[in-house]
């Protein structure tokens, strides 16, 4: 039995809903969430969704406390994992602060696994929990470990790191994995429609070259 606890720091609730949908029926997990009124900050696995506001000292302290208690801290969803759209979008909405004050949670604490996706599909949660429970480090869970080390990840990075370095093999995995249609193929190579990119990072972890480099760079 894994004791899993969840807190949302101020995301759009998409991630919270995804988690609730998956975790309330999850096998081998004892799930508590602030959303179900059961949050107590204790848990072997702490799932954090939403970005951290760097002006909010109370939240920052809380996050640090959670880190101290947690055996594993998981950044769930693009906002918590890599900043996602919250950090990026501009609309002059009230209330301020500016979006740049929102950062991925690894700006404040060490993260064990970071799962991109806006939100990650509920279907990936049970297999992820199973992988944590049986402790098998094989198979693609290592990618999430590597993402925990980076502070940004998006279509922009994919273009920079893979396409412009000429190590793209034109497989189309990124195009297939982009939820907004921001990636498309131009003359056989991916190109980014910048206005459409919500900086979720899904394309990056799905690219066979990029994920390989991520692991090689960050998991020594």
């Amino acid at each position: 039995m894994l004791n899993v606890t969840h807190i949302d720091l101020g995301g759009c609730e998409g991630c919270s809903v995804a988690l609730l949908r998956a975790m309330l029926n999850a096998k081998n997990c004892n799930f508590k969430s602030r959303l179900t009124g059961e949050f107590d900050g204790d848990g072997d696995v702490v799932m954090v969704s939403g970005p951290i506001c760097m002006n909010d000292s109370e939240k920052i302290e809380m996050l640090k406390e959670l880190r101290k208690k947690a055996k594993l801290l998981i950044a769930f969803g693009s906002c918590a994992a890599v900043g996602g759209i919250t950090r990026y979008c501009r609309g002059g909405q009230q209330p301020k602060p500016h979006h740049m004050t929102f950062q991925p949670i690894n700006a404040v604490v060490t993260v064990d696994y970071a799962i991109p996706g806006c939100p990650p599909s509920p279907r990936m949660i049970q297999p992820f929990m199973n992988a944590l429970a049986n402790g098998k480090q094989s198979n693609y869970i290592q990618i999430f470990k590597a993402v925990a080390e980076v502070k940004k990840l998006s279509g922009f990075d994919l273009i920079d790191d893979i396409v412009l370095q000429n190590i793209c093999i034109s497989c189309g995995a990124c195009v297939l994995s982009c939820p907004t249609g921001a990636m498309h193929m131009v003359s056989g190579k991916p190109d980014l429609i910048v206005e459409k990119c919500i900086r979720c990072g899904t394309c990056y972890v799905r690219c066979p070259r990029a994920s390989q480099l991520l692991i090689r760079r960050y998991l020594k």
Partner: protein, 288 residues
Amino acid sequence: MSKSIPTAYKEVFKMMPSWYLEKPLGDYVAIYMGKAGRKIAAEGAAGGGAITSFLCYLLDNGIIDGVVAARKSKGLEGEIVVARTREDIIKSAGSRWQVLPFTLKLKETIENESLRSMAIVGLPCQINFLRQMKTFPLLETDFSNKISMLISLFCFGTFAQESILSYVREKYGIEPSSIEEIKISQKALKFIGNKEVEIKFDEITKYTQVGCLLCPDYTGVASDISAGTIEDKTFIIVRNNEANEMLKDANKKGYIEIENVNETEIERVERKATEKIKRASRYIAQLL
């Protein structure tokens, strides 16, 4: 094996921890040499080989309702084909499963064809991506539950299209736009266009895509079944018991003929796989 592949190998496995240290062919439960069985050979699909026949078996027995694979459309360009009947499969068998990246149109194709349970034949990089998707479906639209079997073809690299096309134009005077077909055999590519020219692989390996030089996976370790052609037979690596049972049943029912493989053959493929791992390790060190 382990003594002959020193640090280079370990380096690459640090980069791909999901893969299996000191197992250049990945994890497997059985290895066979296979070819099309009586049942299929009688229907004139001799060119297709063991995998084509095995796919027919999967369809006939209702294990899958379609096969998705890439095929050459024109020149070096590929397209996705969905084969839904054994006639389709046998028909496309002669054209060989094409070595070209193709994941791009997959989602559309699967939706349009309303497939429920399919086998996908692809290259190691594609199979790796599809396995990742199947393991952790990050998107609501990921169609992981529709994939019943992933079959990987051995791959040592694919060509950078533009470079190779301009090379054959410069050197042999073949106009890229005139190319009707490119035939792939084990040792050469045959271009058929305004001229017909056969070019040995050795001559053109330098036009391998740079991305492929970083790729350490020769057989497709994330597959259910991996297959590569050796002479006129198919070297088959089976990675789980379920797939193994199916192969055995297909053998029993006359779709394929499989026999055990001797150590020397296995070592030959291992050497090739190790060579690719070392190459990847070299190039990745340059990049980082």
